[in-house]
Structure formats: C-alpha cells, structure tokens
Symmetry: C2
Subunit: 299 residues, 2 copies
C-alpha cells in the first residue's frame, strides 16, 4: 500500500476541488485494487458527491447524518437489523431485489425477504394447520408449482411464514406465542400441488421506535406493512423464489412502508360460505380460501 500517489498518476488532479471532487477520489486507488470493490466504491462516490452538490447539507446536517448512521449501527442486534429497515423504507431493498430477479416469462415475481424468516421451520404434510395460537380467521391456502411452460414441479419445498392476528411474528413474542406459530415447510406432491391451513394475515407496523421510525415521523410516513403471507420456494434446477402474497382488502395495500407490494402478488382470498366444502377441507364454515400457483425460473 505504501507508495506515493504522484508517481501513479502524474497528470491527475491531486488536490481537492469541488469541480473535480469525484475524479480526485477515484484516482487514489492503486494498481492492486480489487476491481469489483473499486467499481462499486467509485460509482458510490460519483452518486454521493452528486447528492451533496445538489442537497448542500449544512455542517450541522452533515454531523446529524454522521450521528444518525452511528445510531442506526448501534441499534442493530441479532434480533433487529436497523440498516436493513433503513434500506427497506428508502426503497433500496426492493430495488436491489427486483434488479437481481428480473422476471420476463410470467414467472412469479419476488419481493423482500424481511427480517423474520428463520431457517429451521418444521416440515409438515400438505393440509396441516400452521396456526398454533388459534387466533384469526381460518384460511385454506393451496396451489401448484410449475415452470413457465406449465410443467409440474414435484418435490418443491415451500417455506411459509406470517404474523399472527395481533400483528407479530412468533420470534417477536417468545413465550407469548407458541414457538413456530404460523411457520412451516410444505412439499409439492406428484401433481405439483401443495396446501395448508392458516389464519387470514393482518397488517402490522415495522419497528419504529428507532432511527428509521424517527425518519418516518419527520416525513409523515405510514409505518405499516399491508397484510401478507411469506413464501420461499426452492426446487432442484430452479432459482429460489422469495416472495409474499398480499390480501386484497388491506387498507395499507397502496402504502406499504417497505414498498414490497407488486400488483401480481395481490391474491384473491375468497370468503367461502359452503358447509359441504368446509367439511371436505376440514375447515370451519365460513372460511377464506386462496389458490396461489407458483411459477419458478430455471436456475
């Protein structure tokens, strides 16, 4: 690392000026720089300098920003990731997610993973009820897994999770909700079909008692996420799909605090009043039913 910059780029501008600020910073990298890191940092510098030149923060605002980022880092623990939340509410998470999973042939669209996934949810046979606290409107979820040409995919793993009727995930209420409440892994059968029983999802606020909450309040922004059910679907030879389905009647559907809603992910949760069908499915009457078919992309 120890070498003199003047020898690297004898003609480069070396002293800082507002006009040449981006080039001056970018020119500092040496010949042994990691090319990908250099590309990412150089691109960040270009856009961050453009931000500063347009926004012209005062010295006090710059210092507020330094302290804001520091606080955001300190709020992050094993149970809470405030920087992910910040990325989420600025639309950055959705942008990165969508650019990395561009769907062009009718495959199911992706959305944000969120902070409440856990890797070791129980595996269940199709049809099992994952609602262990007995709260909420009963819902029957079913569908099939195919590729974009309609070919059935059997043996796909469907990892599902959601908040309960009170708007909390089990991991947010250890000792209050049963462990593994509203989580489970299902497997598509020989016809590509899966099914399970659950509770109609409810909306809930993201944690807003920290730095991200302060920003939402200053911007007069809603902290709620519209009601949804998470899916992570994987099958050999296919790209892993991370997505949600949303209920169509949630008042926050058009104001998701983290921008996770895509129109194709709003599902039709039908209200069924049919004692015979309820008995066939082992549901109380009336109940909700949603058919949700998953289309995977080739790996």
């Amino acid at each position: 690392m120890a070498k003199v910059a003047a020898k690297k780029n004898p003609k480069a501008k070396v002293y800082f000026t507002v006009k040449d600020s981006v080039k001056v910073v970018q020119n500092r990298s040496g010949s042994k720089a990691n090319k990908r890191v250099k590309f990412l940092v150089d691109t960040l510098v270009k856009h961050m300098h453009a931000f500063v030149k347009e926004a012209r923060p005062t010295m006090d605002e710059w210092m507020y920003g330094i302290n804001y980022l520091t606080r955001t880092g300190r709020l992050s623990t094993d149970w809470r990731q405030e920087f992910i939340l910040l990325s989420d509410v600025l639309g950055i998470s959705m942008l990165v997610e969508t650019l990395n999973h561009d769907k062009i042939s009718g495959e199911t669209e992706s959305t944000v993973l969120g902070p409440f996934y856990i890797a070791n949810a129980p595996q269940y046979p199709n049809g099992v009820n994952i609602c262990l606290d007995g709260k909420g409107e009963p819902v029957y979820v079913h569908g099939k897994v195919t590729n974009s040409k309609g070919k059935i995919i059997k043996g796909a793993k469907l990892d599902v999770w959601q908040a309960n009727e009170d708007g909390f995930y089990d991991v947010q209420q250890k000792g209050i909700q049963p462990d593994m409440n509203l989580r489970g892994v299902f497997t598509s059968d020989e016809k590509g079909r899966y099914s399970f029983r659950s509770a109609y999802p409810r909306y809930y606020p993201i944690p807003y008692d920290g730095s991200v909450g302060d920003m939402l309040k200053a911007l007069d922004r809603n902290p709620n996420r519209p009601a949804h059910l998470h899916f992570m679907v994987s099958a050999l030879g296919y790209e892993k799909l991370v997505t949600h389905i949303f209920t169509p009647d949630c008042p926050w559907l058009k104001d998701d605090a983290v921008f996770g809603v895509k129109e194709s992910l709003i599902a039709d949760f039908k209200l069924i009043d049919d004692p015979r069908r309820a008995a066939d499915l082992g549901m109380p009457n009336p109940f909700r039913e949603v058919e949700w078919n998953v289309v995977l992309s080739k790996a």
Copy 2:
C-alpha cells in the same frame, strides 16, 4: 401519521417498479412532512437509486454493505468516529466543508476539522513553545490576522494543535505524551500579530484497523495524512475558520487519505541557519520558520 396513501395521491404510482422507483418512494411523504428533511431524503433517494441502478449490486453485495455499515456504527465510540472517517476517505467531508465555506475574495481556505480537536486547550501569551515532549525539529510559527481588505484584526483567538514527532496526538497517547502536548490558544496583538514555537509536523496514518481500513486496503489506497498543523481562528464579527497548514516536503502531500490538502494551504517552512536570528527568537540554531497570515471572512 395514520392515513391511507391512496387518498393522498390518487393518481400517483403506488406499486414499486424499477422505472418509477424514485417517485414511488418520494410520493409516500404526508402533508405534515418536515420540508427540509423531505428535501434531503428525497434527494438522497434519487441519487442512491441511481447508484443501485448503475452499480447493480448482487444480493450478497447488498448484504455485505448492510453489515459494513453496521460494523462502522459499532466501531464508533467517544474516542473514535468511524463514520466521520468513512465520510473523510470518500471525499464527502471535504465536499461538505468546501461547499459551506466558499472563499471568493482571497480569504484563507478551510479544510476538515478532523477528530483530534479538543475545546479546552491552554491559553498562552505569544511566543510560547507548545512542544512539551521536546521531540522533533524546532519550528517558529508567526503571522498576522486581517480581513480581505488587509485590515488588522486584533484579539483574534488562534487555537492550534498537531501530532507529535511519532505521528500521534496527545489524546491518542494518554500517559505517554504530556497532557496538552502540542496544543494552545494564542491571541493576535494590537498589530494583528501572533507567534508560537512548536515542532515540525510529521505525517501519520488514520486509524485503519477497522471498516475504513478494510476499504482502503481493498482499493490499494494510502492511509497516511501529510504532515500538518491545525488552526481554528475566531474573532468577533468574522466567520470561524477551520483549516490546516501543510509542510511542503511531505511525501504524502499529493495523496492525503482524507483529501484535506488545498494548494493555498501548503506553507513555506524555511530552514534557517542564522545564530543571531535564532538568539533573537529564543530558538536553537538551525531551526524552521514559517510565516502564515490568516485572512478571515466577515460573518
């Protein structure tokens, strides 16, 4: 805060798309948003989305960024501010500083404050030696304080501080260096003149055992700051000036890790071999001498 977005902007795009990502995020603010916060965040969103669209980070790179920022926040303590350091090495601190202190009439240029200023340095009469550890080449610093029309400013406070011969500030070496080594506050006299004795400054590396150091290593960048002496000059009716003067022969002058060098701040530290002048000034012979005149802007 609780209201439905669809009613705020009935015609606005509400669901996230890559094409409309910036507008979708900006449109979420409510009517009670703080206007300045909204302007700053909206401008940040515009430039950060442009960064993501150009750089197209992978999901793993995004997660690396989340963890990098979290680590940077956790490294920050009362004694170390890693986010300021990050802002410094990306040229952001110098950009904010320079935009906030635009000099147009020959006033002395500003540069970064740095993390080693302390507010309660001792006040001394002119001519005092602030080098309490006796290390380094002796230097005599003097000059006058005026406005841009050459009018003398008397009673200006000149707060000065620097690293010692080993490249550390006193606050970095509590118990090793004398307290308040190489710090002092001087006052311009009736002719606007100030003077003090010190040690010829040496270059030193910024702390690079943390997240900022990892980035400098990946970019094959130098962590050193060229040798300098800090000044903070204040006088009633004038804008406070925060600046450095740099030695002209430092090998890192063209490769300052934090971009603090401006050409106008490189001073002429003359090597003097003149026993009579040395005796007049109370200096050993030979010694260094620098005349540095300060021109303040009206408040």
